[in-house]
Symmetry: C2
Subunit: 569 residues, 2 copies
Amino acid sequence: MTLSHIALLEAGAGVHEVTRLLLAIGVLLLAARALGELARYFGHPTVLGELSAGILLGPALFGRVAPEWSAWLFPSTGSSVVVLDGIRTLSVTLFLLVAGLEVDLSRISRRGKAALFVGLFGIAVPFAIGWITAKTAPEWVGYEERAGHGLGVFALFIATALSISALPVIAKTLMDLQLYKSDFGMIVIASAILNDLAGWIVFAVILGMIQSTDVAPNVWGIALLAVGFAVLMLTVGRWLLHRTLPWVQAHTAWPGGVIVFAISFALMSASVTDWIGIHAIFGAFLAGVALGDSAHLRERTRSTVAEFVSSFFAPLFFALVGLRIDFVTHFDPVVVSTVLVIACIGKIVGCGVGARLSGIAPRESIAIGFAMNARGSMEIILGLTAFQNGLIGERLLVALVIMALVTSIMSGPAIQRALARRRPARFARSMKSTTFVRALSARDTKGVVRELSAAIAVASRSDAARVESSFTEPALQPVAGVAAVCGKSDAIEWPVVALGMNRAGVSLGEAQCALVFLVLTPLSQPEAEAEILADLENTLRDESLRRKLLSVESYTELLALLRADGAAR
Amino acid sequence: MTLSHIALLEAGAGVHEVTRLLLAIGVLLLAARALGELARYFGHPTVLGELSAGILLGPALFGRVAPEWSAWLFPSTGSSVVVLDGIRTLSVTLFLLVAGLEVDLSRISRRGKAALFVGLFGIAVPFAIGWITAKTAPEWVGYEERAGHGLGVFALFIATALSISALPVIAKTLMDLQLYKSDFGMIVIASAILNDLAGWIVFAVILGMIQSTDVAPNVWGIALLAVGFAVLMLTVGRWLLHRTLPWVQAHTAWPGGVIVFAISFALMSASVTDWIGIHAIFGAFLAGVALGDSAHLRERTRSTVAEFVSSFFAPLFFALVGLRIDFVTHFDPVVVSTVLVIACIGKIVGCGVGARLSGIAPRESIAIGFAMNARGSMEIILGLTAFQNGLIGERLLVALVIMALVTSIMSGPAIQRALARRRPARFARSMKSTTFVRALSARDTKGVVRELSAAIAVASRSDAARVESSFTEPALQPVAGVAAVCGKSDAIEWPVVALGMNRAGVSLGEAQCALVFLVLTPLSQPEAEAEILADLENTLRDESLRRKLLSVESYTELLALLRADGAAR
């Protein structure tokens, strides 16, 4: 029996505590990541999958199917619960650090007026709607009378919960749509930053109020603490970081040194805010803002910290959240639909009106409303924290989580529809295992087109002769042994790309080509061809990649290669 | 009060448990990393610094200076202890995964005969010496009679503890000396792999024996389990991974997906070995070996996992180890010196003789002995695990830790001395803040040499005129706006490099140069000049780096830039 065994036993559990702990973490991590990838594959936020993993492993499914195994692996008391709680606290703190890192305060000033209008109305309207709903129909939003906290604090929480947005999810959605660096993206991100800063300060005040042991907590004192800490961190803290970061980057192993520095700084800041009573996550978030705002924090450092946290701690956190809530038992259709409806109305109308008033076109204003409507992971953290503080019941928590997921999922498609925009086509996404011909048998242009057309016909379930007849244009001038032949067809709905390889080279016109792409695009998507060709050129410009491509043995290896290169993202 | 608060409270501690936990992790992480960097700066293994951080924060120093603060931040009972124990268990498991990843089984076959001789004698000789010492003079190696375990098991442990080596430390040392890919490095690494595989199997058996509840544990049964698990993992497990890894790499976000897959796999394997009674770390190590051996595990994946674990979990682990042991109280000079002496004699003689018998030259055989003598982090983990299992007392644990550190520290210098080899000189390491002249005032060759010579004179505390007179050779033909002037002198002991910049360019001969390097090397190091020029050429080949260099404002920024680029490592 090891010391850990003993320490773990002291907390009151059986033997095999290490077995249980390692297995629980391993299983949660694997399931969260797998379902997260699945969600990503279907274009949804990964948090949807990560949370679902916890729900499936929790009381909702695993607990029902195999209650004994579930009780053994995820007991409700004992030392492994304490450890997992500790890891969850650590994870959420680090997650808020990353969320803070994404905040770039300089973005606000660049589109000041629009951001101010959207940010202001985006808070005020949902705040008012939330407050009024909670006051007039508290049972519709899941109010449960709890010891000490009256309806006033509850209404304040509902109002705040509807007002915040999820900067990381919004940024991700805009990046997917290639709008992040556009004027539109600039306004949305700046507004979301204002929104989040204000929202988290209000939330910190609410938590301070209910954590206070006084009967009548000093609201203004707590508000002053929260605002004071924020100001201190963004002035003195920022200045100190500005002086320290270059030194850390210069004198420590890269990138480990600066990552650990950032994490330690965030943990200490979090412990300070927890100590003064305005919750740890607020301190971690502000530490992230101060760190991320420093010009000395390299982009690569930022992305390394984000990668580190989002691949390990975030899946673990959301899976642990899902594990602890019984979504089936606590699902209340009235509360869920009320929360969802008022959340969407408040945010879309509020931000949309704010955008219009600042002079943005109607179509774009609606898109901004939908963009800001995404609540994602931030709402889940907010809800969970309120629940853990005894402020809300499980019915409202479930409703908030569902609202967070639904608003995030609808955000991307809604923006696309409003702006009539879609994700640009990419060649790797348009390939299938059957359209990869590792060793071409044909040796001339006509033969190659025929061979690859047959592959496309199989993949798109259409007629080979008809596919072949679509390629009437001549092959594009080959560059560096790569050739592309394009065609358009009304028989397909999505672009299909075939790749044929021949290490010895095939004669296309006068040049010898080792890689031949056949690009078939639907007539309904006139810009897809140009997008795929641009993507091909961009990807294959890299000579070492071209060389590696030729040594690929299977479609899976091809995908792995392109993915490592970033081309299949 | 949050749910985590409540769960943490159930385990029996006060309020502000979250404050305490986050602060404890933040402080440990920061101190471990900072001292780890310091150790690295002086050319020692980082584990030396990480462990020292824990010792300083533990009972040895912080506990004596500020007992109340220390008792508050690192209490000996309560829930934060349980959480930190859980994190320590997780950390050591992940550390062993990384250690396993470094094992490349194919290396053994390439230098089979030498590896077999060195590996075999490197185990047999220290094993025999350890066994005999423990049997004849048990009190000299810190034997304490403990419940249940006799002198036999203890002697077996001492023998094993002296036999293992530390593959990660050895690999790191060889890389620093640029010997990793040489024939010499090949033999050492192959021997260390054989050595570690055998050592850990024996250790797993010992642990199985003492963890068994039977009065007479079935040694052969446990040995069969350990060997059986190893064989299963390296055949069936390897085959499965070989089929699964390409799929994971092709279908998940890179590199997060494959990292989480590797970690989950290791955690599950660890929980299986813990469950069957041969300790979790053995399972994690074997999972790492099986994963690392797959041709499909890209080098970048391997280094990303290693970076992830070694920048966060490893410092935390070693700091926690240091925190729990009072090195001052339990320091016993007799035990420490006995363990150190027999460890060195056993390993150096054993490996040296093995190498000689396989036909390796005497000088290289001695170097191999010193290389294999490094025990590093592996010995610390072994000792701690034995201590936690009640097999050894704190006196022996302290002795083993000191032996691990001393053998690791002496390894690099001893190899250099035996092979008459040293680390090649690099320009960034030869610069000082005073030898960086951001804006040259001189405009011609002579003036620039004078200006930079003055800077070198300040940095090396020598006479400016004498330094200047060393530069008799003409400036090297400038390439892409970079020029170098070289000189030799007997007034300095180490190479000194000065860098002068002028954005508008200085006329050196016929060319305009924006960056001028003055390279002064001591006469005692005839090859330093060529090494520095090669390093300069290699680093400045990158056009974007040259451009960034010109916008650098201070020496610290210069170092940060070179470090991010890898040039200042």
